[in-house]
């Protein structure tokens, strides 16, 4: 089977479907046409640019440029995690926790896959390293984002109960356990659902892409299984590090052993910094 090249003419023809969505928005007065147009243009420009970047990186095969690209991907994903939180942590911790955990989880999983599964030469070859990192990162980002969101909203909701346990002398691990468990379950649910539905309800994009590119379906399936394992590992590791890191490793103040989780008000109702700290009661001591 040969690979069928798609031309810009074919892409223009397919774009009619998005134009139809825009018309639907106009007719039904959904007011989505502007967002739809911006999202479509962003998607085209971003993908064309990434295509050019990948082409250059594949030609260079440079550990420096591959590493720089990988770090940039992690930093962008960190911004996404931070932006998706209704209740953010204070200060640098807001951005640093999710980004740091994602960096550790995605890097470990990608290096593990490159050195033990793909055996590419060199091991950091961007043709393998960047697509794997991208897939692991995308899913780890969702897991960490969901986990942190569930944890922070749960900690704010259960603040009285958590505080009562802490006041009775229980450790922070015990006091936060119900919220931690719920956060981890929520973080892992998408990958569990995805694994359960793959092959029956959906055909994953990477596998479909390989089949369309002419690969043997069984070979494509094996790749997909490997990727699912990597994603599950990355999501579990990243979410665990982020959720466990929240009550145990966040910044401390005063005597050095209180105020570990400083949950700001929801971003839309943020308290003015000039107000006395005692007004900001979204504080869980540990």
């Amino acid at each position: 089977m040969t690979y069928i090249e798609i031309g810009f003419g074919e892409l223009a023809l397919a774009s009619i479907l998005v134009v139809l969505n825009g018309l639907l928005s106009l007719v039904l007065r959904l007011r989505l046409e502007q967002q739809l147009a911006i999202a479509t243009i962003r998607m085209i420009v971003q993908l064309l640019l990434v295509g050019l970047v990948l082409k250059t990186l594949f030609a260079l095969v440079s550990p420096l440029w591959t590493g720089t690209t990988a770090v940039a991907m992690v930093l962008f994903a960190g911004c996404e995690i931070s932006a998706r939180q209704d209740r953010r942590l204070t200060g640098l911790w807001s951005y640093g926790l999710g980004t740091g955990c994602m960096l550790i989880a995605a890097t470990l999983i990608t290096v593990f896959a490159l050195t033990t599964q793909f055996n590419s030469e060199p091991w950091y070859h961007p043709r393998y390293a960047l697509p794997i990192l991208g897939m692991v990162l995308g899913n780890t980002m969702t897991g960490i984002s969901l986990g942190l969101h569930t944890f922070t909203t749960g900690a704010a909701r259960e603040r009285n109960a958590i505080e009562a346990r802490l006041a009775l002398g229980e450790t922070r691990t015990v006091a936060f356990r119900p919220v931690t468990q719920l956060a981890l379950k929520t973080a892992l649910m998408p990958i569990i659902n995805s694994m359960a539905a793959t092959g029956l309800v959906s055909l994953p994009g990477m596998m479909t892409g390989q089949i369309l590119a002419g690969a043997d379906p069984v070979s494509a399936v094996k790749y997909q299984i490997l990727i699912m394992f990597l994603i599950a590992g990355g999501t579990g590791l990243g979410a665990l590090a982020a959720v466990m890191g929240l009550p145990t490793g966040s910044p401390t103040t005063g005597t050095g052993c209180v105020l570990t989780v400083s949950l700001c008000q929801p971003s839309s109702r943020r308290v003015h910094p000039d107000l006395s700290w005692c007004r900001r009661r979204e504080v869980c001591p540990v």
Binding site: A164, A167, G169, G254, C257, V258, L259
Partner: protein, 172 residues
Amino acid sequence: MAGPSGSGKTLLLRAIADLDPTAGTVKVDGNERKGMTVPRWRGLVMYVPAVSGWWHTAVSQHFADWGSAVPLIESLRLPPACGAWPVSRLSTGEQQRLALARAICRGPRVLLLDEPTSALDTPDTKTVERLIEEFRSSGGGVVWVYHDAAQRQRVSHRTLAIVGGSLREQTG
């Protein structure tokens, strides 16, 4: 401890229990808070708020050993069967008494009580006052935040008031 609403009584209790950021030194029996782990400190110096939190469904699940807690529960004019009750069934006054029992059962050295009788009627208030006096006379320390001047006359051995942000001894 006395003082007008919003003067910082609760904040002070929370700071002593290391539940809020603090500066300064606090000791129990000569041992500094900084010299022990936070859970150990909070187990010794236990804060009981006016409205406590609950994390399990049934009342008895909040006690390490419900059987040994029953005499204390009964002394607070609550039936032993309340252990099987869901927390959602409890009135505010029942929650307040059970939260106090829950704390005493853990064997603290000091109780930091934030208006422990604010939701109680007169007989229950007297029961709680008697129980806390027993705790105190058996060697326990108590810091009691109150609003009722008559209660102060009944229970207080020494009164401190927060006036203008500072703590002062109150006499008479």
